[in-house]
């Protein structure tokens, strides 16, 4: 086992927590219980807000759904609290799934906005439904018992709370290092790139939103069976802000930040409750002023939170993951000369501008086809139409016999189309290896549960070996654990090529791959592309460097002002009068 500052800190905290009920005064144990319960909610918010770039202002309401479900089931229904937990998880999960399904296809800010609204809606429901005791709430909620041993005392439920926190942290940490976890970490920073790698973003967002809700439900269950009583007020919108503050204080993208943040806010709240009554008789309302101002200052000046301060002292050292002898199994490529791509009469408008106007061409497998034309000819738009990043207004695109005209980007990627971008799209805060591993997403299967439970280790090891092979192929293997953002632009382009190759594509679509490369690097790239062709991979590329293009491609398609100007072998295209006119201006 690697000995590091982090592991030592973790061991000390676990030991400290295990001994706490024996030595600490009862009030400290109560505070620690609240910290643990809050940390569960904050962990969910770290996952969706810090890592995934979504947020919820109604997280306290979800805690409430869990708490009320279990309280009602155990009092009115007389069920065991463990059945209450199952019902709480089911009710909260379903609520979150419905809300997520309604909002997650929309732009990012609709989800948080709607969370404010339904957060308040749920609160008013709790407060007004007679069966839930209205403003008085529900009393005489039974305590949880384990094998006949009652956890009625604060010292006893303490262990249950912190064991659950520990398990939740472990599962979340596993999940984030898995196949789906890489996609989750990639969510922030634009959708096009992830979708081009075969990731269904909507599904990923929905699942993490539900995971966060399940964590909230568990917290609600613990809360209600610890206090043995439930009323609506802890689930209104103010506590939701406190949970968000916890996630931000700790450092929104670190899962341990959830515990640190929860501890900071719970302890601060405890101190404020001592101090604020001296300032005003409305102390409870002033508390939220302090927390809100703190949240604003934090977002303005220290978005990384406490964890990023700690990271300045102890920088993260990414470890090389286990790599298998064998890579991932490869697909059988169709024989050379099979019709691969057929673009027929495709048209795309941007308002009044027709960027691609009735363009048709075809390519066969094993071919390198170059798409050239002056700036603004519509080449990149054409690429976006073929890969599904943009919908076309008219025409038909067929890939290997499948009509892909109306298919989503991630479905087209799954058919075997990989691409790079004119403006490099990488995740600068992830390592080179992780960026390339994202490319293997479409070839691997592990789901969320497999990732969280570490059942995906074999597949991960083979994916790692595959990614290393592709990094080696483009000459970046030595920097595998560096952050992608530290590479110079030319190497970032090459890294995109490695990521595309990791998807084991039939067709690879390259948008200006040689831009920003020096001569020896260009030669190396041309050599790589030729060897890919020899392997049977088809290549479609846009490039402005004519020397690079002419020496490499089998055929050329020339575009100008959105229409196709010419098509044919490089020499014939070079001799074409209309092409010369487009590039050099009219002779007469």
């Amino acid at each position: 086992m690697r000995l590091s500052v982090e592991r030592a800190l973790l061991a000390v905290s676990v030991l400290g927590l295990a001994l706490a009920p024996l030595v600490a005064p009862p009030f400290s144990i109560t505070l620690l219980n609240y910290i643990g319960i809050s940390a569960l909610v904050a962990l969910g918010l770290v996952l969706i807000t810090g890592v995934g770039g979504l947020t919820s202002f109604g997280q306290a309401a979800l805690v409430g759904v869990g708490a009320y479900t279990s309280a009602w089931a155990t009092t009115a229904g007389g069920l065991s609290p463990w059945l209450g937990l199952a019902l709480a998880l089911a009710a909260t999960g379903t609520t979150a799934w419905l809300l997520g399904a309604a909002t997650l296809r929309l732009q990012g800010h609709f989800l948080p906005l709607s969370t404010i609204a339904w957060g308040i809606g749920i609160y008013f429901l709790f407060a007004n439904i007679p069966g839930l005791g209205q403003h008085d709430g529900l009393r005489n909620v039974p305590a949880i018992s384990v094998f006949g041993y009652s956890l009625a005392s604060n010292g006893a439920i303490f262990y249950l709370i912190w064991i659950i926190v520990g398990v939740a942290l472990r599962l979340t940490s596993n999940l984030l290092s898995s196949r789906q976890g890489r996609a989750i970490r990639g969510l922030r920073g634009g959708a096009t790139m992830l979708a081009s790698l075969g990731v269904n973003l909507y599904r990923i967002r929905l699942v993490i939103f539900v995971i966060a809700a399940l964590l909230a439900a568990t917290a609600g269950w613990l809360y209600v069976h610890m206090n043995r009583y439930v009323s609506p007020s802890p689930f209104e919108i103010r506590p939701s802000i406190e949970f968000l503050l916890m996630a931000m204080v700790g450092g929104a993208s670190s899962i341990f930040g959830a515990v640190i943040g929860a501890a900071t806010v719970v302890l601060l709240k405890d101190r404020l409750q001592d101090v604020l009554p001296y300032v005003s008789k409305n102390a409870a309302q002033l508390e939220i002023v302090v927390f809100s101002v703190l949240l604003i200052v934090l977002l303005q000046h220290a978005r990384g939170g406490v964890v990023s301060l700690f990271r300045r002292w102890v920088p993260a050292t990414p470890a090389m993951p286990r790599s298998a002898a064998e890579g991932l199994s490869r697909r059988t490529l169709p024989p050379a000369g099979t019709p691969l791509l057929e673009v027929a009469g495709v048209l795309r408008r941007f308002g009044g501008l027709v960027a691609v106007n009735d363009v048709s061409f075809a390519m066969a497998t094993g071919e390198i086809l170059g798409l050239i034309g002056p700036n603004g000819a519509g080449k990149s738009t054409m690429f976006n139409l073929i890969t599904g990043a943009l919908p076309s207004n008219a025409g038909r695109i067929v890939f290997l016999g499948t009509d892909v005209t109306r298919l989503r980007q991630d479905r087209i990627a799954a058919l075997g189309v990989a691409r790079t971008f004119q403006h490099v799209k990488l995740r600068p805060a992830m390592t080179l290896l992780d960026n390339v591993l994202l490319g293997t997403y479409v070839r691997t299967r592990a789901g969320f549960l497999a990732g969280a439970l570490h059942l995906d280790r074999d597949e991960e090891a083979r994916a790692t070996s595959e990614a290393m092979r592709q990094l080696d192929r483009v000459g970046l293997a030595a920097q595998a654990l560096h952050l992608a953002g530290t590479l110079p632009l030319g190497n970032q382009r090459v890294l995109e090529v490695a990521r595309a190759l990791a998807a084991d594509p039939v067709l690879i679509v390259l948008d200006e791959p040689a831009a920003g490369l020096r001569l020896p690097e260009k030669e190396a790239l041309a050599k790589l592309l030729r060897s890919l062709r020899a392997d049977g991979i088809s290549i479609l590329l846009v490039e402005h460097d004519m020397e690079f293009v002419m020496g490499l491609v089998d055929r050329l398609v020339v575009m100008d002002f959105g229409t196709k100007l010419a098509e044919g072998a490089p020499a014939a295209v070079r001799a074409n009068a209309r092409v010369q006119e487009a590039y050099l201006g009219g002779v007469a």
């Binding site: 309604a102 732009q107 404010i116 634009g190 096009t192 809100s292 949240l295 805060a429």
Partner: protein, 349 residues
Amino acid sequence: MDSQIALLLTIDGVANGAIYVLIALGTVLIFSVTRVIFVPFGDIAAFTALTLASLQIGKLPGTVFLVGLLAGTAFLMEAVTLLRQKRISQLPRAFLNYLVLPALPTALAIASAGFKLPLAAEMTLALLLVLPLAPLIDRIAFRPLADASVLMLLIVAVAVHFAISGLALLFFGPEGYRTEPISRAVFEIGGATITAQVLLMVCAAIAFSGLLFLTFGHTLAGLTLRATAVNRVGARLVGIRPTRMSTVAYLLASVLAGVSGLLIGPVATLYYDSGFLIGLKAFVGAIIGGLVSYPLTAVGAVAVGILESFASFFSSTLKESIVFFFLIPVLIWRSLASPVHEEEDEEIV
């Protein structure tokens, strides 16, 4: 329910809707220019009503202290920024913009304390007192984050609401207020009784949305506002100052919120935190318009008003829940109607 009750409820709903229209339009205006979803907007409306109520009972309004606190903070922040960037020559202007200008209406309020002013003058003064709030909040909370993502700005906006309404409790106190009615006239139109107050609310909503439409669509100021909304960097390149444009947007929107506050003051008892729910209901309207379309926003806001009035007839206790849960089918409809166009956020570290 018979048609008579339905008619009554509809009239009531349209009147409520008129209030939401003004606030929702302001929300869309601010969002399109600054990308900030300005959650504290309902608070601005409520504060205007509370300010007017304080003036009417001859009390110095809490707004005076609130503006003072915000102006002081904004000036300090601006001064620190200027000193750090060694732009000391601009200090006097910052002093003028962030301290003197916001303080003018305050001085007027203090000077006029003890006199009984005519209603129109009181209303104008209340509006003037509230106007500096939103631009000052912009300077303090949002300008340091101008390049942050919409999500980040939204989190800050929600935090600002709680900070402001907590402070409002200190300055306005926990009591509820109702302002004097603007007119007590009652009309009989086609069998329905309509108060002048309701007519005024509807007319004001139409007049101010028309005014907004004209400013936005047909003046140079509107054009620069729209340019800033479309592309901040581009607008900057042609000599538009995005910060000045956001101040203009906040002022314009504050007038809308202020007017709605003046109209709602006589018909509802308002507390320091009433603005939140009013603002959120307006939000539901704005979301119906997708936070972009002004006409759809207006239709949505009226629909929310009518829904609310019918909901309160069927179940007065659950009306809030009904109004807010109405958002869910609306969002499903929007997500089916308009395909996603993602905001390509740069990676935030």
